[in-house]
Symmetry: C2
Subunit: 391 residues, 2 copies
């Protein structure tokens, strides 16, 4: 297969999917073999400029013989069933974030993918191609920061207007999305907080609000405290109601702290090991010499989605390690599910969480808050480029 | 009384009290009339350089006729009984932070003070004289920030070594201090978070740890989420185990956000009202023009303790409004008490809190954790100037 292009079938031609089509058409090693949407108008619109084969049923596209891989960009609840259909039909599958709405479904598709080790199963963790986050991860994995004591991410620059929520009837509903800011805006942050640090929390205590600043039925604000098994503490603070908002990712450890803000990494590095000074210094108020360092990192070429998709293609053609392997898709989702359940029930939640318990919680939320969204759906021109968080 | 100096009796001649003596001796409108400590060595050492009358019992000093006001700088539990003795004897009282260990005792001394409206009762909220915090408060009270939506304070630059905790047997014990980082290091931050914003939370959800990075029996780390009655959210993150630590105080509102860090106030001001744009913009991803402004504020002369004490003296002599009126001392304490109880019981706590419930909780903590401090007390030279948080 190394001498030919990977043919994608793009399913779900809304804001994201319709953007992927021209991007993939421009790739050296990939092309779009077909497009699919249950809405014929959307399928026509995406197929037209390239005169592509089009379908209204993803199963027909899968068995058409026209494609090698499915790119799933449908509403969230359809990610898992379509990915399973693709994998079971012998195709590769690349799924937009989030992998699923709930951990149970995510674990299910991961189990299916394990049965087909020769097919690639990836998640569109495009922000893993962001060289700033890659650099932070490299520094931490290399031990530059020492043992981590605190991970704090204030990520409140996800401002969304009432018009945004009115732009799709499914938006900001339990039935349509299975959540709000955690499931739609934050999946990348929730993935990065575990990917950059290499740590999964074991307990989450959160305070969340449904429809605080928008007339919607899902959460638009969440504040969470994360406890890690080795004693580190974490914080995750988000909302879609603040502007201009803050995006500050701060990680403290035995050798100082890393701060990512305004696209810049600052490393305030302690000359001595903090724990050692804490335990052994003869001084009560020991001040540790620290150096404020601007950490350089390379600028990347192309867009993040393009780079992630090209990596996926290269994994298929040349066995390149995947940046966003599907099996890791559950980690950030699990953190988000735990925040959601803790934040809306106001009780601490232990991880790993029970998939059935979470699904029952989701049904409770739908019952309790369903119908509270009072915005009429309006056709709105959407520029998705404006939606990606500025790191 | 306007033609003479206010004569202070300084009781408690440890690190703080022994520093206040020479400072007050240098004031134009105040002097030290006497000093007092249960430890004769400390009383001698403080009295010596100025040849001051000295006592080992605060009641004797109070009735000596040598003083007009008592400055209480004893361990925390003695603040309330000594202040009450002073007030009931017709003297003014200025109390080091915290006003008390628990809200019940704080409310008690406030009730006593109300009976003596002609005597001044103040708390050493020296950081209220910090022009940076004064400026932030002015901007907020003037409405420059609009309605507040989020208050986040990462205040992790309270690094304290094991040697610090070994420097006094009473330190970091329930019986000696009634708490750790919240009651000893953070009272100013806990006061400022309500003084600068003018808002008291109505519910606190916290995660705290006893002896996480030090072998002590009280909390040395606390992460708290604050809910305000008008819908604003707050966060307070502190520890004595991190270095160099962060001190970033961020307040978001309808006109952007204020950030205080590194002694600098940055106002990222939105040109339009955030709530109005949220509700009325025709765009899904509205980006609001914002201006990054360095807010100027005057540099203050003299030390903070000196300025607060001089303000207290001026309140006595000339009726100047007090910067740290005693009645306000309970606010920050109440926030700290609620954090402590929530953080160590892992249950949300509503404010105002029940004083008896909190006192029972304190006794539970003493029973549960008492004796876990395993540091032998050592004589350590302490430079208190190193202890004040750099704003």
């Amino acid at each position: 297969m190394s001498d030919k292009k990977v043919r994608f079938g793009v399913v779900g031609l809304g804001n994201m999917g319709s953007g992927h089509v021209p991007s993939i058409m421009g790739m050296r090693d990939a092309t779009v073999g077909a497009v699919c949407d249950v809405d014929p108008v959307k399928a026509d619109r995406a197929a037209g400029p390239f005169n592509l084969p089009k379908f209204n049923n993803h199963r027909e596209m899968i068995r058409s013989g026209l494609i090698d891989a499915v790119l799933v960009a449908t509403p969230h609840y359809d990610h898992v069933p379509i990915a399973i259909d693709a994998l079971e039909a012998g195709l590769h599958a690349l799924v937009e974030k989030p992998i699923a709405v709930s951990v149970k479904a995510a674990r299910q598709v991961i189990e299916v993918a394990k049965k087909f080790p020769n097919q690639k199963f990836g998640i569109m963790f495009n922000q893993r191609t962001n060289p700033m986050y890659k650099k932070m991860r490299d520094l931490i994995l290399d031990g530059e920061l020492g043992k981590i004591s605190r991970v704090t991410w204030i990520i409140t620059d996800w401002f969304r207007t009432w018009t945004y929520y009115a732009s799709g009837g499914w938006r900001a509903t339990w039935a349509g999305e299975g959540g709000g800011v955690l499931i739609n805006q934050c999946p990348h942050n929730l993935d990065l907080i575990q990917w950059v640090t290499g740590m999964m929390p074991s307990r989450i205590t959160a305070v969340g609000f449904v429809g605080k600043t928008h007339p919607i039925e899902v959460e638009d604000e969440m504040s969470a405290i994360l406890e890690y098994p080795d004693g580190a503490i974490g914080h995750f603070i988000t909302t879609t109601g603040e502007a201009p908002g803050t995006n500050r990712f701060e990680i403290a450890g035995d050798r100082g702290k890393l701060i990512a803000e305004h696209g810049k990494i600052t490393f305030v590095r302690t000359r001595e090991n903090v724990t050692e000074v804490n335990q052994k210094s003869p001084h009560s108020f020991a001040s540790i010499e620290s150096w404020t360092i601007d950490i350089p990192y390379p600028r990347a070429e192309g867009g993040e989605h393009q780079r992630l998709t090209e990596n996926f293609v290269s994994a298929i053609l040349r066995g390149t390690p995947m940046l966003g392997p599907g099996v890791e898709g559950v980690n950030g989702l699990e953190i988000g599910n735990a925040m959601m359940m803790s934040g809306l029930t106001r009780k601490p939640v232990e991880l790993p969480i029970d998939g059935d318990v979470y699904d029952a919680f989701l049904q409770d939320m739908a019952k309790k808050f369903g119908g509270r969204k009072t915005l009429d759906t309006k056709a709105v021109a959407v520029d998705m480029n404006a939606s990606f968080s500025k790191a």
